[in-house]
């Protein structure tokens, strides 16, 4: 039942032209732009590849929440409540959908790195980076779902874009944190996005991911999960 729901929602997402253009095309375009303007730094090409894939995953993950808010507004969530699917299955299906729709953006940016920018890594590194990016996107899916259950469709779209921008820039997904002033760099270290990208970047550099990075991501994951559960509990009975 959940599988059927995930299939339906993934299909709906991938048919959304703006999702494909902005959710998949944008990170790829920005990656190629940022790594080819003003000199070629192979290290930055690799680091930025991971960061931009993380940015793409972030955007797609949050968009799951926008979908929830739209479905709440259109009455589709209410219609689902009169099918044998339980609200819990619906929200689980949504989270799984989020996990599926982050994949194209991750894959597209990594492919651009390998094919266009000539990034070279061992096979295990590619696999490990992709896996970490994929799993690490889940907290952001939960954040998006939390917003989606709590807010209207319009405000969810805005709020998600806001979160996406703030987390991307603060987390150094667009510009390297090395360019940040000291205080901003410390702040960046507390963001889930910085640490999320860091996990992938250490793997890409051939090192084991740091415990601190994993801990920060873990704490944010718990926060976002609780937020999603609270928002869902508050609204699932009233949709």
């Amino acid at each position: 039942m959940i599988t059927a729901y995930v299939r339906l929602e993934v299909r709906r997402t991938l048919r959304d032209v703006s999702f494909v253009v902005f959710g998949i095309g944008m990170p790829v375009l920005m990656y190629l732009l940022f790594t080819n303007l003003g000199g070629v730094d192979p290290e930055w090409r690799t680091a930025s590849m991971v960061a931009m894939a993380a940015y793409g995953a972030l955007g797609a993950a949050l968009s799951t929440g926008t979908g929830v808010a739209e479905d709440k507004g259109s009455g589709w969530l209410r219609q689902l409540r009169v099918t044998p699917m339980t609200p819990r299955q619906v929200v689980t299906g949504r989270a799984l959908t989020g996990s599926v729709i982050v994949l194209p953006a991750i894959a597209a940016v990594l492919a651009a790195g390998a094919c266009v920018n000539g990034v070279r890594m061992d096979a295990w590194q590619w696999a490990a980076v992709a896996l970490v990016l994929w799993l690490g996107a889940l907290p952001f899916t939960l954040l998006g779902i939390g917003n989606g259950y709590r807010l209207t469709a319009q405000s969810t779209g805005m709020v998600n874009v806001g979160w996406s921008l703030a987390l991307s820039i603060l987390g150094g997904l667009w510009f390297p944190v090395e360019a940040f002033p000291g205080w901003l760099r410390s702040l960046s270290g507390l963001t889930p996005t910085r640490r999320f990208a860091e996990l992938g970047q250490s793997l890409a550099a051939g090192a084991a991911p740091g415990a601190a990075a994993a801990a920060v991501v873990g704490v944010w994951a718990l926060l976002f999960a609780s937020y999603a559960v609270l928002s869902y509990r508050r609204s699932a009975r009233t949709v």
Binding site: M1, R15, D16, G73, R81, V82, T83, P84
Partner: protein, 331 residues
């Protein structure tokens, strides 16, 4: 759970054979159910039983409590007091078991999905659904199966919602104002589909504020007003209940009209030219009395219209709820 082999023809009349753990519990049972929103008592102590296989119309003006009744019925809302049971279980359990399908009133079509995909998905959520092709056929959507749901006309989209409601082959189907905003053609097609589904032995409950629809398509009409049932019966029974609205007209043939008001049953007399119009609560007695006076020329008895009945039952004043009713079923 075994279900009857899916009928290629929806016109079967045999009731469905279901071994039922809940015995003979009625399809729907409300006991003193109440629900308020702030100071508004939307449902005020409703008692209601719907037998399995019945097609029942929930009739009332806007704000009479129809939608709240349906929300309670589907477990979308909890009653403040009293109980609601479907097949002897709570609404949530019955919905969870796949025994209920519903077509809700509000709702925009789901975006970026075809009719077939949507109906197939809805079917998948039920334990023993109809074959998708059959659900599409019942709702008259076979030719539209490949079209995107968000690119259909209003009438077509309404049929999609009906198909979603019946895709799981539920024993009880609940339709909240299913024909609101449909044109005559779409209405007719819709009711044909609904009756085909009811004929399979299913229980149907629909809400409407069109009297003619309730009378034409339901075995039984429940008139709801201010959160209570004010009448319950067939259209014919309702008409009889409110028979005091009957009109007896007769030519005076030069006779004086004085004294007519004193005839048995007569509540009001109106004279236009040589013709008297007597509003009577007992048309038989009135006609007999007129006959005794020899005043029978051009005599004519008009039963109250359904609109009169409705107004009498709900004590409503203008505007008539069915003023914009479709002409197709008008009597």
């Amino acid at each position: 759970m075994t279900k009857p082999p899916s009928a290629a023809h929806p016109a079967r009349t045999a009731p469905r054979q279901l071994p039922d753990p809940d015995g003979d519990a009625p399809a729907i049972r409300f006991r003193h159910a109440a629900k308020s929103f702030g100071a508004v008592r939307a449902v005020a102590g409703l008692d209601l039983d719907v037998r399995r296989g019945e097609t029942v119309a929930l009739l009332g003006r806007n704000g009479a409590g129809k939608s709240t009744t349906i929300a309670l019925l589907l477990g979308l809302d909890e009653p403040d007091a009293g109980s609601v049971r479907l097949f002897g279980r709570t609404p949530a359990e019955a919905v969870r078991a796949g025994r209920v399908g519903a077509m809700l009133q509000e709702g925009r079509p789901v975006a970026r999905i075809t009719v077939r995909e949507l109906v197939a998905f809805a079917a998948r959520t039920y334990p023993a659904p109809l074959p998708v092709a059959e659900a599409l056929d019942l709702a008259g959507l076979t030719d539209l199966a490949g079209r995107r749901v968000d690119r259909l006309s209003g009438g077509q989209a309404q049929r999609v919602r009906f198909a979603v409601a019946l895709a799981g082959n539920p024993e009880l189907i609940v339709l909240d104002e299913p024909t609101a905003a449909l044109d005559v053609e779409s209405r007719r097609a819709f009711w044909r589909s609904m009756r085909a589904y009811a004929r399979r032995g299913n229980t149907v409950l629909f809400s409407t504020h069109y009297l003619e629809e309730a009378d034409a398509h339901a075995d039984r009409i429940l008139v709801l007003d201010r959160g209570r049932t004010v009448a319950d019966g067939t259209g014919e029974q309702l008409r009889r209940t409110a028979a005091r609205g009957s009109m007896v007209c007769v030519d005076l043939a030069g006779r004086p009209s004085g004294g007519l008001a004193a005839l048995p049953g007569v509540d009001a007399v109106e004279v236009r030219g040589d013709r008297a119009r007597l509003r009577t609560r007992d048309p038989d007695a009135t006609v007999t009395a007129l006959a005794a006076l020899g005043a029978v020329r051009g005599i004519e008895v008009t039963p109250p219209s359904l609109d009169d009945v409705f107004l009498a039952l709900t004590g409503a004043t203008a505007p008539t709820p069915s003023a914009s009713a479709p002409g197709e079923n008008a009597r």
